[in-house]
């Protein structure tokens, strides 16, 4: 309450009204609050320097990635973004007291973009300062501070408010909403904490542009953190249900129901499909608990809830199909890998990757078991020959190539015999059509 009172007064002062008796006192109070909050979390903020393979460039050149993190336990657990720690061969963390430690990845989830690190501190090290998550609900207008290392400038704090507490970004996460803030979040802030005036962490800063910053909300993190500790991953349960909300303003779609959620499709060979779910089924309750998804903002929470169901337990869905109540029972499966393996073929100038149904649904449609070109070295041989990202490799020199192992064998053979033959005929599938591409790899792109 005190904070709100101050906020209103501050706004008045800022508008230049001199009616307040003693503006200085009020400003001092707010400054004190910010300072106090800052002092609680600031010592727990770390500056992260990771060396990560950049497979998207089709070479094994490593990139230096700079980001932020926050210590969440006295023995050195650090939370940061998955995209900060992704493919890192080494992670170094600089603490606020100028001590530096290496860190290793304990667990991560790509969808939510969260990674849990463990600092490699000496056993007799005194407990580290750490930050705590807030228990209180976050609302629009709450003052928040983003801490971290924007553009690599560590020990930075910026101030703003929560612009939207329930932002749905369908391209960015299927399991989580976002807090939107106007506190400046720049590259390098990634993984740093978003802190309220009580000095509690409300989220992990993840995305940002101009006055639009987005942070992973604390409730999502608190849901997922024990699973990262236990399994090293979110370990989502997979049902294979495609769901649609009752209302969609953008597409002007309104189903005439007050409750439930619409099943739009089931994924191929999924537990939901095997259990008999059909498009246009309306789920009204899950394990007896009523479900209503009015808008797409409500969707991530349900998906997260379903995704965290135990694998060995049946889930009972009450479903209305053609005005009849039916019950469908599904036993979820582990979602498994959400990303394919990668293989860098430096002489050819590209990175190949296995097709994963979750990561590449369209490629999966064309070729469920296959490999595709994931990254291209823009100055490499593949780029010069016209191969493109997303090309599914079907054949090389008229021989089918379906796996990274087979590709590796063909590649090694080709590079070994480069003096005899320095080109390869690729049959690729590009967006559903077959093309041939001759890859000339006589040029050694490493030689300048």
């Amino acid at each position: 309450m005190k904070l709100r009172f101050l906020a209103i007064l501050l706004a008045t002062a800022a508008a230049g009204c001199a009616t307040t008796d003693n503006p200085t006192r009020i400003e001092n109070d707010f400054r004190a609050i910010v300072k106090e909050a800052n002092s609680k979390v600031f010592p727990a903020v770390v500056y992260i320097h990771a060396i990560a393979a950049n497979t998207e460039s089709g070479t094994d050149k490593a990139n230096a990635v700079r980001g932020s993190g926050v210590i969440i336990s006295p023995d050195g657990e650090v939370l940061t973004n998955f995209h900060v720690a992704d493919k890192a061969s080494s992670i170094r963390c600089l603490l606020n007291n100028a001590e530096a430690y290496d860190a290793e990845i304990i667990g991560f989830d790509k969808d939510i973009d969260l990674a849990l690190l463990q600092l490699k501190i000496p056993e007799d090290n005194p407990p580290l300062p750490y930050a705590e998550f807030t228990d209180k609900p976050v609302q629009e207008g709450d003052f928040v501070m983003a801490m971290g290392a924007p553009w690599g400038l560590n020990r930075s704090v910026s101030l703003g408010i929560i612009s939207c507490a329930t932002r749905y970004l369908p391209e960015s996460s299927e399991y989580s909403l976002w807090y939107q803030t106007d506190a400046a979040i720049s590259p390098g802030n990634s993984g740093g904490p978003l802190v309220n005036t009580e000095g509690r962490v409300v989220g992990i800063n993840t995305l940002g542009a101009d006055k639009l910053g987005f942070a992973i909300p604390a409730p999502t993190i608190k849901d997922i953190l024990p699973r990262l500790r236990e399994y090293g991953k979110a370990n989502w349960a997979w049902l294979g249900l495609e769901l649609q909300p009752l209302n969609d303003f953008d597409q002007n779609i309104y189903f005439d129901f007050d409750s439930g959620v619409i099943v739009s499709d089931t994924q191929q060979d999924s537990p939901a499909q095997k259990a008999g779910f059909q498009p246009y089924d309306r789920i009204v309750s899950v394990n007896g608990q009523p479900v209503t998804i009015k808008n797409s903002e409500d969707m991530p929470e349900l998906r997260r809830k379903l995704g965290m169901m135990p694998f060995d337990q049946e889930i009972n869905f009450d479903v209305i199909r053609d005005n009849e109540n039916i019950t469908i029972t599904v036993t979820p499966q582990p979602k498994g890998r959400v990303e394919g393996n990668e293989l860098i073929l430096e002489r050819w100038g590209f990175t190949a990757k296995t097709i994963n149904r979750f990561e590449n649904p369209f490629l999966f449609f064309y070729s469920p078991n296959g490999i595709f070109i994931y990254g291209i070295d823009s100055s490499g041989n593949a780029a010069y020959s016209g191969l493109q990202n997303g090309d599914i490799i079907m054949e090389i020199n008229h021989k089918p190539v379906k796996s990274l192992d087979e590709l590796k064998a063909v590649y090694d053979d080709a590079v070994e015999n480069i003096n005899r033959k320095s080109n390869a005929l690729f049959m690729i599938q590009r967006n559903g059509s077959i093309y041939y591409v001759a890859l000339d790899f006589s040029r050694d792109t490493n030689k300048k």
Binding site: S264, R430, N431, I434, A438
Partner: protein, 724 residues
Amino acid sequence: MLKNFLTVFSATAIAVFPVFAQDSTHEEQKEQDKITISTIAPQLSSMYNNRLVSVKYKFKPGKTGYKPNSPGFFCRICGKIHKLNTDKLIQENNSFFIPGIALDDKTVISRNLLIPEDNIAKISIVTADGKNIPANITAFYPGENAVAVVAESSIDDNLKPVEFKDANENDQLFTMFAGIEQGKRIAGITPFSTAAAVKVGGKMEYMIPVPPLSMIVNSDGQPVGITIDSDIEVDSLEKWRHDPAAWESISIQQYRDNISKIASELHDNTVPVRIKLTPLPKTTSANNLWADRKDDEIKTFALILNSGELFVPEMMSIADSNRIQEFWINYNGNTIKAEYVGSLKKYGAIIIKPEEPLQTKGIQFNLQNPELIEEQLLYTVITHPMDNRMEFQIMPSRKDGTVSRDDMIYPTFFPEEEQELVFSADGKICFAALNLREKNNPGKYFNIAANKLVPQLNQFNPDYAPKKDQILAIGWLGVQYQSMDEELAYSQGISHLTENGEKGLIVTAIMPGSPAEKAGIEPGDVLISIIPDSNPTPIELTSNDFYTYNFGFPWEYYDQIPENYYDEIPMPWPDYNDKLNNILSAYGIGSGYTLNYIRNAENCSAQMTVEAAPESFFNTPRMVSNALGITIANLTSEVRHYLKMADNDPGVVIARVKSGSKAAVAGMKPYEIITKVDDTPVFSIKQMNELCQGKSHLKFEIKRLNISRIVSVKTDENVSFKNL
């Protein structure tokens, strides 16, 4: 002496000849007995200046609004060709000046601008001292391309009739000329010699370049001739040596009579014709249809032949000819049906026969040797078929060159825009501009002489006949292909067989049940050429002509495409209406051909027959609903193949989504599949119509590749689909 040729003198004001500049060849002048320009010029200029006048033309739009162009003339003074664009001159209210030579105090000889009288508002003679005297064209000299312009009053009373002398072989000659350049009179004089002749082309003809529209005088100052063009043929010196009075001429009255005779022949012997074609299916494909004509009606005209049949000079491809359904003519306001008789073997023209005989003797053809006719003043006719009558533009015309094709030489005429028929003065057709039936070069017209055309009027090509029972059949080979390039050829070791990758199409996929599958063609084979049985000339499948773009389809980014680009998204599945199939379609279903291809770096060939392609997305019927804003089509085999759908899977294709429509707002996109309407699986557009009929709130299950969603649409009015 030759090097002196370009010595030009000029002045900047309307005046007598200027003070002549120095003779640039003065130092080289060795032969004392030769007379130099600088010695003779003042004398010549005082003698001839007043004879060198200009003819000033003002133009107006013709009766039908027509504003012709003219080749104009080559200007000796500025060294450029002054082309004549009456449209521009009329807009800018400007006059056109062309030099002329006064033979006496009224008669001026100038060049024929080939502008119809209809377009000439006013002619006047501009004298050397700047006076404007109204004048009229009185005669044409077709052989010289000249006109006689006679002033209404005397130009200069001192001008006596010119008496031309014969020039001797060894005479030293001079040409004198004057003109108006940007409102100022400029004049010049140059020496001229028969020794300046240059060989022209491959023929043993010699031309002497001369300033056009100039007076030629000898060193005694005596006139020996005038020039009209910018060169003189050496073996025909008499063309300029003699008095223009000896030139063959056509009086203006004769010219007008000729035009009215032609007009009356045209009026009696031409009719508007409508050719009704089988309508093409509507398609969302951005590709060209294999038929060239997009409309289902052609408005053209016909000449009535003395046999009672009609000659329709209209070029149509085999595919379009096959689409012909009916001919209708309009004769004296009556609409009469006509029957197809035949299409000419060599030229793009059709013979039809009206169901009722027409009361006229028919158009006449001038069967003289075309070389004799070409040098005459001719009349080009541009036809304008109206609904129930014909309109014509008759313009004076002249041969301006030749083109050769297939060992034949065809004349070209001015004017050449939209030129259709060329008449001689006797009201007979002497040339008809027709399209040669060449498969690889359609659209090019040649002027066929009447004596060559008439014997062919009963020689027909059955391929170009209407085929009422076999409409819109697309032939197919049933392959998807990709054009070859240098790297692809090299990597397969077939550079030597493909001209370094410039020839050849790599087969990337074989359609099930296709002729290619039956012939054992496999992906990876390289198609090289097609030789139709009826014609031993192979069609080379070159990378250039059959270039393919390897884009694929942007499914990954499909939601980012703005609505207003929907119509421009090419279809994701293979288009049977591709260039290779178009060639086969043009041969006709059932015709045989040899397909040459490369497999394992060896030449192979297969004997093939053109088969009709199965119905495909491109030509399957469509239905449209305005309430929803979508066009739908049945799932055809190639679409099912692309989408990995079984033959009995439900679905109709969204062929088009109108931007801003209810469907577009609801996120429906082209090439997505509607699998269910209100929980009922939908298998055809007909069933879709039945399921949607009369409803204003519909629920669709929409599938994009492998991902479905439910779309619910409320419309302002009840939904119904109409056939497209």
